[in-house]
């Protein structure tokens, strides 16, 4: 029998890896992938808790998270294309226009 704490632990581990990727990597696209990783870790926690509670709420919320992730990916990638067209870079440290 799979314990709930194992699933939550796995979810926490994947979330932490996503945070690490976001902080360590400087390629905007890979930072974006790290965000997807974090979203999926939270989805796993939702599904696990929903399954243990026997309700459909967790799955409904995961459905919404997927939709928001799709919208976020579309807009975010459009922003990245726009940045690349103007600045010829996808390196986050090169984008210092708003820095004082």
């Amino acid at each position: 029998m799979v314990q709930l704490s194992w699933l939550m632990g796995l979810s926490a581990a994947i979330f932490a890896i996503g945070v690490a990727g976001f902080l360590i990597r400087r390629n905007i696209l890979v930072m974006f992938m790290s965000i997807e990783l974090m979203l999926n870790a939270v989805n796993l926690a939702f599904i696990s808790l929903g399954s243990r509670l026997g309700t459909m709420d967790g799955q409904a919320i995961v459905f919404f998270v997927m939709t928001v992730a799709a919208a976020e990916a579309a807009v975010g990638l459009a922003v990245i294309i726009s940045i690349f067209r103007n600045r010829e870079t996808v390196h986050a440290d090169d984008l210092t226009l708003l820095r004082w």
């Binding site: 632990g9 994947i14 945070v19 902080l23 999926n40 599904i47 459905f63």
Partner: protein
């Protein structure tokens, strides 16, 4: 779901997630991410969330990841040769992530989770019927707002990614001038 399957999938997803962070080639990062998504989808299905698991494979690992792949190819990204970023940020980031992981893991202990555990589900749990029951009754407003969100995202993505008309006009004029010169 048997514990053997769980540990296999857990190992696979963590190794693949580490691959996303470690790989130098963005396409390899993406493939590692797809592997993570698919192993998480199997974990969903193993917990009777069948529809969401299949949606995860089709929408997430299929559509969204192909969008990422298109952008990687469109930008023609090279493999990163040198280590990037400042060492101090990486160091502080690693400490912060370790603290976050410890905090999350202590929070995830079952003693803290006030959940009434159940291991058996009612018939039809996780089916498309049960999911749509929830979506079209309790979450109806959220569902409708989501459709508006998708519309906004589509329009916004097109507006952001297209060239401005001024640039298009200029490029067209340059093309015509080149054609006249050749003729």
């Amino acid at each position: 779901m048997s514990p053997v399957l769980f540990w296999f999938l857990a190992t696979l997803s963590i190794v693949a997630a580490l691959g996303v962070v470690v790989q130098r080639n963005p396409v390899h990062c993406l493939l590692a991410l797809v592997l993570t998504l698919i192993s998480i989808a199997v974990l969903f299905i193993g917990q009777d969330a069948v529809v969401v698991g299949f949606l995860q494979v089709i929408v997430y690992a299929g559509a969204i990841m192909v969008l990422f792949l298109f952008v990687i190819w469109l930008l023609n990204l090279r493999v990163e040769t040198a280590s990037t970023g400042r060492l101090a940020i990486k160091f502080l980031g690693a400490i912060g992530v370790a603290a976050l992981l410890a905090e999350l893991e202590s929070f995830a202990m079952p003693a803290r989770l006030q959940v009434k555990f159940s291991t058996t589900h009612a018939a039809g749990y996780g089916s498309i019927e049960a999911l749509s029951q929830a979506l079209f009754s309790q979450y109806l407003i959220a569902f409708e707002v989501t459709s508006v969100l998708l519309l906004v995202a589509v329009v916004g993505a097109v507006a952001l990614a297209r060239r401005s008309t001024a640039v298009e006009v200029q490029e067209r004029a340059e093309q015509l001038a080149r054609a006249e010169k050749a003729a």
